[in-house]
Every structure is written in structure tokens, then in C-alpha cells.
């Protein structure tokens, strides 16, 4: 990976963690060719949408591929048994 790509990944990840529109610390950022891919899971649809905006603000001339998924919450499981 080119040196500037490594710094680019760090800058986008940091922006996603620190920008109040997202504040998600564990989004994975990958540079592939001339595109930036965002992968991982966020709690809310609004965070997914904002992630593209925040990443674009760091690298305005680069295509952002937003592949984040939104957490789907299910019903509680049975109480746990520990023997």
C-alpha cells in the first residue's frame, strides 16, 4: 500500500470516530484503487448515511463505497443457564 494510503485510512477512520454525525470508532476503511470502502456495522441508518458525508469531507474527490450494515435488533433470548 502506498504511504499516502495508510495516512488516508487513518484520517478517514479518525474523522468517523470524531465527527458528531457518526462517532463510530470501529468502521473499517479500505482503499482499493481509486475508491474508499467503508465496512462494518452501525447502530442507526442515520450513522450510515452520515458516514459517507464525513468520509467525503476528508477526501472530496474520491468515490466512497458505503458497505456499512445497520444492526438489526432481535427479541431477547431465553435466560442463560450455566452449569
Amino acid at each position: 500500500m502506498k504511504v499516502e494510503y495508510q495516512y488516508l485510512v487513518a484520517r478517514v477512520q479518525r474523522a468517523l470516530a470524531e465527527d458528531p454525525r457518526v462517532n463510530v470508532l470501529d468502521i473499517k476503511v479500505m482503499v482499493q484503487g481509486d475508491k474508499i470502502h467503508l465496512t462494518g456495522q452501525v447502530a442507526h441508518e442515520a450513522h450510515k448515511k452520515a458516514a459517507t458525508e464525513v468520509a467525503s469531507s476528508v477526501v472530496p474527490d474520491t468515490e466512497i463505497r458505503n458497505e456499512l450494515t445497520v444492526l438489526n435488533v432481535e427479541a431477547p433470548a431465553q435466560p442463560e443457564a450455566i452449569n
Binding site: H44, L71, A75, P76
Partner: protein, 267 residues
């Protein structure tokens, strides 16, 4: 038997919808107490805590919470706590609280906890002031947790944290960030004081189940780990053990509660 519902890392914001409400509004059907292990908000805004408080108003059992790192981000942690306390939520930091449920008592001691890493690969109180302050903060919170736990003279005792006391429940996270996910100092304090259950969050890519070196069950109830509205742990005393000789004293046990806590349309 005392039934504990637990969740962490709900990360509420101004735009959070009411996805959890159908489950939380029926939580009393399967739990006596609701624990929330930090990261209540996205970036620690008191207005975000108010959104959560409105949803928690639908819960019909006592609620106990600790703050997480996200709840400190805006330096409004007092406002976050107050918004929740106004809604009847008990927010703990280095303190304990006792409830009586069906004639049995349960004490919850809580702290956010902090990082530093786990035995064999952890930070030390050495070097720059900033490094000593980092580890010193964890030591201080671990000591306050130990004192709070030791002060509970109850049938059951629970430690409620945000950061993990063991690497068992952070397994799945990148090794490089383990020191930011928890500290063995928390487990050491808990093992010294004793407890029946430890509940925490923070490690979104970790695992639910672990154990301290002293044998105390640890549960990571971060929402991305559970992928459910909450987990349920049934604490059972020796007096409850009338249906089988193989169960352990003060062990977690299972009870049949099919459909418990589920929205009516899902049952």
C-alpha cells in the same frame, strides 16, 4: 431467584428511533432488574440522554446504569447522568445500590472502569505523567469498585461496568486495541471483593461469555454482540435449588419463559 436483564452500548442520539421500545416495555415479564453497561449515548450529549430517558420510561422495573466512554466525550457527563436520574434511573460510579426482590436482596456495584490491558500485556504506572495518569485512573476506579462490592451485604452481588475486566469477552477485537478495551485490575478487584456476576459492554466485536481468574462469570452485553434487545441472567440461591442436586449455589440458571419480553405480534 432474581432475574437480571442487561444491555450496553445502545448509543442513543437525537435521531434514534423507538426500535427497542416494544421489547423494553415488556421487560418486566422476564426480569426484575435492568442493567445498562455504558455507552448510553453517541457522543455524550445531555439531549441524547434525554431521548434514551424517554424510551426507558417504558421499562417497569428498576434500572441501574453506568456511563461509557461515549458518554464522557462532550464533557457533559453530569448532564447525561441527570437526564437519566430524572427518569428514575440509578447511575453508579464507584457506588452500590441494593434492591429487594421477592424477599431476596441483590446489590449492584458500578463503575465505568477504564483501560490498561490484561495480564501479560498491560500498561504500568511508569514514565510520563500522562501514562501514570492513565493507569492511575484505572487503579482508582478498580479500588472504588472493590470497596462498593465489599460494602454490599446482599444475597447476590453484581458488578456493572463499561470496560471489560477480562480478555475472554474482548476476543474477536484486534489485539492492538486490547489495552483500550479493559483492564485486569478490574477483575482483580472483583475477585478480591467477590461477586456472582459481572456485566460490561464496550467491546462490540467481542464475545458474550467469559470468566475472571477467580471464577466469576463475566458477560459482555454490548448490543452489537448480543444483537438482541437485552440478555437475561437468572441468579439462583441455594434456597431456590429444590428441583435438582446438580446446580451450584448462587449459580446462573435457566427457567422456561417462552416468549418472555417479546412484542405480542412476535409471540
Amino acid at each position: 431467584m432474581i432475574r437480571i436483564a442487561a444491555i450496553a452500548d445502545v448509543h442513543f442520539s437525537e435521531s434514534t428511533d423507538n426500535t427497542l421500545r416494544p421489547y423494553w416495555s415488556r421487560l418486566h415479564e422476564c426480569a426484575d432488574l435492568f442493567l445498562i453497561g455504558g455507552d448510553l449515548t453517541t457522543h455524550g450529549g445531555a439531549d441524547q440522554a434525554a431521548v434514551l430517558a424517554r424510551e426507558l420510561a417504558f421499562v417497569q422495573v428498576p434500572i441501574v446504569a453506568v456511563l461509557g466512554n461515549h458518554d464522557y466525550h462532550s464533557n457533559q457527563e453530569r448532564g447525561v447522568s441527570e437526564a437519566l436520574q430524572d427518569a428514575g434511573v440509578t447511575v453508579l460510579e464507584g457506588e452500590g445500590i441494593v434492591y429487594t426482590v421477592k424477599g431476596q436482596t441483590v446489590g449492584v456495584a458500578g463503575t465505568s472502569g477504564f483501560g490498561g490491558g490484561f495480564a501479560g500485556a498491560c500498561g504500568s504506572s511508569f514514565g510520563e505523567r500522562e501514562m501514570k495518569a492513565f493507569i492511575g485512573h484505572t487503579e482508582q476506579l478498580a479500588n472504588s469498585l472493590e470497596a462498593a462490592l465489599a460494602g454490599l451485604s446482599t444475597d447476590f452481588r453484581i458488578a456493572l461496568l463499561h470496560y471489560s475486566p477480562t480478555k475472554d469477552t474482548v476476543a474477536g477485537e484486534r489485539l492492538e486495541i486490547y489495552p483500550f478495551l479493559g483492564s485486569y485490575l478490574l477483575a482483580e478487584a472483583i475477585d478480591r471483593a467477590g461477586a456472582d456476576l459481572v456485566v460490561h459492554g464496550h467491546a462490540h466485536h467481542g464475545q458474550e461469555k467469559g470468566i475472571t481468574a477467580g471464577g466469576i462469570p463475566v458477560r459482555n452485553v454490548a448490543l452489537p454482540v448480543l444483537r438482541r434487545a437485552y440478555a437475561i441472567y437468572n441468579l439462583e440461591s441455594a434456597a431456590d435449588k429444590i428441583d435438582g442436586p446438580t446446580r451450584h449455589s448462587n449459580a446462573l440458571s435457566e427457567s422456561p419463559t417462552a416468549g418472555c419480553g417479546m412484542p405480542a405480534e412476535m409471540q
